[in-house]
């Protein structure tokens, strides 16, 4: 394709920032310009600007009005003078009240534990699929993806039927005399772990499969010939080679799990503290939009942004 401009011609000074921008803009044809700007504009308006709005509202004060937050600029008609009113109170409150800090930490804990267990469940599945014949491979892969195409909400709901006091697991254990009192599983953190592992399993299996499938099997054969024991071979060869897949899978599970709302709301107990649920309640129950925005801003800056930056710089992209 007509590659645009390579400005840094050897022996010639690179054009400075602004000059370079003008130069490039002039060399983009109208057609190219439209094609590039259409998706860019859409994402700018509906993906990037919203975060600025969230940040702006996090500095406002809650008021009883529609919309329920104060304006940052206050216009004084007598002096024709506008004052900028920034309220840092939401952020101060966020750090003063240990409730929010606990919610952030507990979200990280729950997401990390669930990510670890997702990896444990997914690894043998991905390994088996990567080592099967091509026809069985398609079948097994489809079996992993199929639940992903069915409603996430209904799959969480299915677990409610399993974990209840009079649910299938308790009935089963009671009828075999393994327990004599029904176990409390629903509305505990345990149920939340199960829910996250269950719903995010395909996101872990697929990148692991991609990494394991690319693996050169002769490396394992060589290790075996040299007398490596199966466990040794696994930890010294298979696992290191699967690391890109492990990183990608863990990020794909961990980040959305941190902000999870539905799973703790349906499977968790009243003491299950997750930041996504806190944000939801702050917004829908307390109707404190500025506070919800502050919770979102901190979550974005502290939890999501660093992970996204890491993800964009390493091989995690291969997952897709």
């Amino acid at each position: 394709m007509n590659a645009p401009v390579s400005l840094n011609i050897p022996g010639q000074k690179p054009v400075s920032g602004l000059g370079r921008l003008i130069y490039t803009l002039r060399h983009l044809s109208i057609g190219r310009w439209t094609v590039i700007s259409l998706p860019s504009l859409w994402l700018a308006v509906f993906f990037f600007v919203p975060f600025l709005v969230v940040f702006k509202i996090s500095l406002a004060e809650p008021t009883i009005s529609i919309p329920p937050y104060s304006s940052l600029l206050e216009w004084d008609p007598e002096e024709s003078f506008a004052t900028l009113k920034l309220n840092l109170g939401n952020y101060i409150y966020l750090f003063e009240d240990t409730f929010y800090l606990e919610a952030y930490l507990s979200s990280i804990r729950i997401a990390a534990v669930s990510t670890f267990f997702t990896l444990l469940v997914a690894f043998p599945m991905a390994y088996l699929i990567a080592r099967s014949k091509s026809t069985t491979r398609i079948l097994l892969l489809s079996l992993v993806i199929l639940p992903f195409w069915t409603s996430f909400l209904l799959r969480v709901y299915a677990w409610m039927g399993f974990l209840k006091k009079n649910g299938l697991i308790n009935e089963f254990l009671l009828s075999f005399g393994i327990i004599d009192q029904p176990l409390t599983m629903l509305q505990t953190d345990f149920a939340v772990y199960i829910g996250i592992v269950y719903t995010y399993l395909p996101f872990m299996v697929l990148p692991l499969y991609t990494a394991l499938e690319k693996m050169d099997i002769t490396l394992l054969e060589a290790a075996e010939d040299l007398g490596g024991r199966p466990m040794q071979n696994f930890f010294l060869i298979t696992l290191p080679l699967a690391i890109p897949g492990i990183i990608a899978g863990c990020l794909l599970v961990f980040i959305p799990a941190v902000g999870e709302y539905v799973i703790p709301a349906l499977l968790g107990g009243s003491d299950t503290l997750m930041i996504g649920k806190v944000l939801w309640d702050e917004f829908f129950l307390n109707r404190d939009w500025p506070m919800a925005s502050a919770v979102a801003t901190v979550m974005l800056i502290v939890l999501v942004l660093p992970i996204m930056l890491i993800r964009n710089t390493n091989s995690g992209k291969e997952a897709f």
Partner: protein, 270 residues
Amino acid sequence: MQQRKSLFLNTSATLGFIFLYAPIIALIVYSFNKSKLVTVWGGWSLKWYSALFNNEQIMTAAWLSLKVAFISASVAVVLGTLAGFVLSRMGRFPGKLVLSGWITAPLVMPEVITGLSLLLLFVAMEGAFGWPSGRGIGTIIIAHSTFCLAYVAVIVQSRLSAMDESLEEAAMDLGAKPFSLFFLVTLPLISPAIISGWLLSFTLSLDDLVIASFVSGPGNSTLPMVIFSKVRLGVTPEVNALATIMIGIVALGVVGAIWQMRRQNKMLPD
């Protein structure tokens, strides 16, 4: 590669698959249960299916969800294909890095943040220019198109970068103009990616609860919103029937896709 399948590997992988399917199978079986109590087996019956089709609230919500998913997936495919094309075939341009960051970000953004930020944007826009006035099907479609766009872009981009440019270059050498080049050469080549992008977007939109809850207005409840409130309130055997129908449709689609793939494999032995 049949070797190296130990008993341990087989058992743990099988347990994984059982874990994945046991709840789904239980859901299907209990959708045919005569008893209202989910755990008591009262014999086979189809009564929850008729209850489902007579439930006007669920049917209205399902129709709304299908409309939203259809339009969102179509908008997402157009914008996402453009975005994927721009990233892999347009060379360098100012802001490319920013655009590629924006495209991958929605894939991992927690839904509560996306939902909240879009709602606050809509409210701020309404205050500033009076549009969108109130929230409803339009705002849900915008929100869903935005997060689905990212998935389409990633799929199209990876298809384009896996495909070598020689066909497009040949067409250009033969004098194809950019427009006809795109519509006659590139588009047919990436159509599998576009179809899977559309299907994925459709499913994601149909499944979304959190973002839709933020950006929908009163009286515009999508199917997941109705299911969520029903599930929170208690036992709802119709939901089992609904789940079974949805699983059935998806399973048919997947079986069809496998069959198609095997047929193609037979035609093109590699």
